[in-house]
């Protein structure tokens, strides 16, 4: 075994009184992809930020090539050969790809001017080596997230990075894009780069890494080669409980039809969408990013205009298709992006949780604090919201924020709840509480449509799974039929899902 390219030795880090890292040691070896897993709040991001030069450790050492180093800035880390690719690409959208790659260190001509042609030449070389058809002069504005990551990777390559840290790079990618990314990672690995891969997606972690380390509560709780781990063991280490406990969907006998949609069409986005959802049912809506799932949900709720088709709740057809009408008919909609669309980040938990029911909190025309508190408490208590209800929501964790969004919609007493990616970016503990709540609601007779890219979640929670591909429904699978293969098969556009070769093998 060769010496580690970079090694963290017994790192401690606290923010105020909160201890985030407690004696973490972690070596990254050349030519090895080392995956780091753990719930949100386990300390992964802090660890990444220490290696990136954004935080200094309180104790412990970062060792590169046998020397202890202290990164006081990102520039120092980059010059030492450590490059970080963050979850959300951090690019200058108004500038060209080449400028993004070389910002702050552009090559210069003999006169001291920026050498644009050299810059473009180098970037073009990297682009063609990675087999990507982009031009160095193109602005970043308008690139897909996947292409933006390519720009970040080229940036790392031009630093001749010896260590490449990728913090949840696949969160927003389609399967094709993940494959392309993994090919690139594989190529870098074979060149001897030490790679750290932070992800929540188990199947990807197992597909790409040589070694998997699991963290919990600021400590490393397990670290060994990937083939000595099992999925169950990784999850158990992460949360300290087993997989079954994660998806507590109870069997419910479906009741009356609550939602019925017929032949929905929105030009260029989706068409021929027809389905029903009954009381007590959780219907999963699966598919790749961009398949049109969220768009269907937005159209049902009346945010986006429909070109044709009809939506009924119970026996009433929704005519005036606006969110107000949808709410009045009994639809609740928990959007995908809770920070932008679901919450007013600066407002308190109570305010957010009662935003949907302004009439109920009013007394003599003014907002009554007492009523607000009562209404908010009804749902926040039930979901075991952690954190004070008088605090602004922006200080809550992702999981608790999601509970507030749910509470806000549950306050309207909906017959149908549409949840879009209810657990994205939520840690495993809060995730299971969200699942428990959804399951409980279904049991009480609510109809639920759940859009999710997290296949185990869809399989674990849904009574029925509808799969979309490029704007069309390609399959309807019962709970018994739904598994990762059958869903991915339909999601990639194949009507018949019995073909074994369709398994989404990322390790190819």
């Amino acid at each position: 075994m060769s010496d580690p390219t970079i090694e963290l030795i017994d790192i401690y880090k606290s923010f105020g009184s909160t201890r985030v890292l407690e004696g973490v040691s972690l070596p990254l070896l050349p030519g090895e992809v080392h995956s780091l897993m753990g719930e949100n709040g386990a300390g992964k991001s802090t660890l990444v930020k220490i290696m990136a030069g954004l935080h200094l450790p309180d104790q412990g050492a970062v060792r590169i090539g046998g020397h202890d180093v202290l990164f006081r800035s990102t520039a120092q880390a980059q010059h030492a050969g450590v490059s970080v690719i963050y979850q959300e690409p951090t690019l200058f959208r108004d500038l060209s790809i080449a400028e993004n790659v070389f910002m702050h260190r552009q090559p210069k001509t003999a006169y001291g001017w920026i050498d644009y042609s050299e810059m473009n030449r180098v970037v073009l070389q990297h682009l063609s080596q990675l087999g990507v058809s982009l031009r160095p002069e193109d602005p970043v504005l308008g690139l897909s997230i996947a292409d933006q990551q390519i720009v970040e990777i080229i940036k790392a390559l031009t630093f001749e990075a010896k260590v490449l840290i990728m913090d949840e790079p696949t969160a927003a990618l389609s399967l094709e894009e993940v494959k392309r990314l993994f090919e690139i990672v594989e190529r870098l690995r074979s060149k001897g780069v030490a790679i750290m891969f932070v992800s929540h997606r188990l199947e990807e972690v197992f597909a790409i890494s040589q070694r998997i380390t699991v963290m919990r509560d600021g400590r490393v709780v397990g670290s060994k080669p990937f083939d000595q781990w099992s999925t169950e063991e990784v999850i158990r280490k992460m949360v300290g409980r087993s997989l079954e406990a994660l998806y507590p969907k109870e069997k419910v006998e479906p009741g009356e039809v609550v939602l019925c949609v017929r032949d929905l069409r929105r030009a260029g986005v989706f068409k021929d969408i027809s389905f029903e959802v009954r009381q007590g049912e959780i219907v999963g809506l699966a598919g790749l990013v961009g398949a049109g799932r969220s768009e269907v949900a937005r159209a049902i709720f009346g945010i986006d205009r429909l070109d044709s088709g009809e939506v009924s709740i119970g026996k009433t057809k929704l005519r005036n298709h606006l969110p107000q009408a949808a709410m009045a008919a009994g639809i609740g909609f928990v959007p995908e992006d809770r920070q932008q669309q679901g919450l007013v980040m600066e407002m308190t938990v109570i305010r957010n949780a009662t935003l949907t029911v302004p009439k109920q909190v009013r007394r003599l025309g003014l907002v009554s604090k007492k009523r607000e508190r009562q209404i908010a408490a009804r749902w926040t208590d039930r979901m075991q919201l952690k954190g004070h209800v008088e605090e602004p929501v922006n200080i809550l964790s992702g999981g608790n924020q999601q509970k507030v969004v749910l509470a806000k919609w549950l306050a309207t007493g909906p017959k149908l709840l549409i949840v879009d990616e209810p657990t994205r970016g939520v840690d495993v503990g809060a995730k299971s509480e969200v699942h428990r709540t959804l399951s409980q609601l279904a049991k009480e007779g609510m109809a639920i449509v759940m859009i999710s890219s997290d296949l185990p979640e869809v399989i674990g929670m849904a009574d029925r799974v509808l799969v979309m591909h490029e704007g069309k429904l390609t399959a309807e699978l019962s709970r018994a039929e739904a598994n990762e293969e059958s869903i991915m098969f339909a999601a990639t556009g194949h009507a018949d899902r019995r073909d074994r070769n369709s398994k989404t093998d990322l390790r190819d």
Binding site: L91, M103, V132, K472
Partner: protein
């Protein structure tokens, strides 16, 4: 995997790009305005009226250069007009108190004074972390107030200022006013600085994505500070030139021009959200507004319409940008949707 597309060779592609640029549309608009106005009133293109036009636009255009750097960083500097007021009066008093002082020395002191006032903004915005809108709104009033207190009703008149200095504001070289030459030279300097130097690109980077700028290792606070110092120094120079141009200066010199400057910069294509625009475009924006006001004068439009037109121009420019962005987004939507 597809092969990368061929990059367009310098030449046709480059020329095409220019014709689609903001600068090209500004030049076109200015030309159209000039042709229409000349057709209606041929005196518009007389040497005297062209000279007046250039003189009128020069000081605004100068201030636009400083403001471009500021707005590129997604900041704003409202205080420039007060800086102009202080440094214009300061230049005058230097001539009164130190007879025989050289013009260059006066200009240097004015620039230095502007630079120091800019440093006040710089410190408050870059290190005090007070939003630039608030900071410079505050210093706009503070500088102007201090100026009133200091001037105390006095006035500098042309009689107190040496003719050689006043000549800077009125005489021409090769048919073009000296003032305009100063702007053109600085325009070249700013254009090269913003395009060809790392520091220049960093102004764009900060305006485009401040967080990414930090991650790229840019010292954002220092860069923002230098921006405000540059803007202050330019305002100082503009103050000295204000005296040269008008000869008579009291405490109100320059009042209100900050809004004309910001309007010109934005009309010239420097996005108020930062990261986009060029010094040339901004200066052309100033020229467009100036040509537009003289058009109104030549066509005998009532004076009170001028401001309304200026405002309308600003909104049209912003609406055009929004429309282009919308079109761009639409194209992307089509590109990513394959249904």
């Amino acid at each position: 995997m597809t092969k990368p597309a061929k990059i367009p060779v310098l030449g046709r592609g480059w020329i095409n790009a220019w014709f689609r640029s903001r600068e090209a549309s500004l030049v076109l608009l200015i030309a159209v305005l000039a042709v229409v106005t000349t057709a209606l009133n041929p005196r518009f293109l007389s040497p005297q009226s062209l000279k007046d036009l250039m003189l009128n636009v020069s000081i605004i255009a100068l201030l636009v250069l400083g403001q471009t750097v500021i707005i590129l960083m997604r900041q704003i500097d409202l205080s420039i007009s007060s800086t102009v007021g202080i440094t214009a009066f300061l230049s005058g008093t230097l001539f009164i108190d130190h007879p025989g002082i050289s013009s260059l020395a006066v200009i240097a002191v004015a620039i230095l004074c502007g630079l120091l006032l800019g440093a006040v903004n710089a410190a408050l915005v870059a290190w005090g972390k007070i939003p630039a809108l608030i900071t410079t709104l505050g210093t706009l009033y503070i500088f102007r107030g201090a100026n009133y207190a200091w001037v105390h009703g006095r006035q500098v008149s042309a009689a107190n200022v040496p003719g050689s200095f006043l000549a800077i504001g009125t005489s021409t070289f090769a048919g073009v006013p000296i003032l305009t030459w100063i702007v053109l030279i600085l325009l070249v300097v700013f254009s090269i600085g913003l395009r060809q130097y790392r520091a220049g690109r960093e102004y764009y980077a900060i305006g485009s994505n401040p967080n990414a700028a930090v991650l790229a290792g840019i010292n954002v606070s220092r860069r923002i500070a230098t921006g405000f110092i540059i803007s202050g120094a330019i305002a100082g120079l503009a103050g000295a030139l204000w005296l040269a141009r008008f000869g008579t200066v009291d405490a109100t010199a320059g009042e209100g021009i900050e809004l004309t400057v910001i309007t010109s910069t934005v009309v010239g294509g420097v996005a108020i959200t930062g990261g986009v625009g060029t010094a040339t475009g901004a200066v052309l924006g100033a020229l467009l507004l100036s040509v537009f006001s003289s058009t109104l004068v030549f066509l005998r439009a009532p004076a009170f319409w001028q401001q309304a037109f200026q405002g309308a121009m600003l909104l049209v420019a912003i609406a055009a940008d929004a429309y282009l962005a919308y079109r761009h987004a639409l194209r992307l939507r089509i590109k990513w949707r394959h249904v």
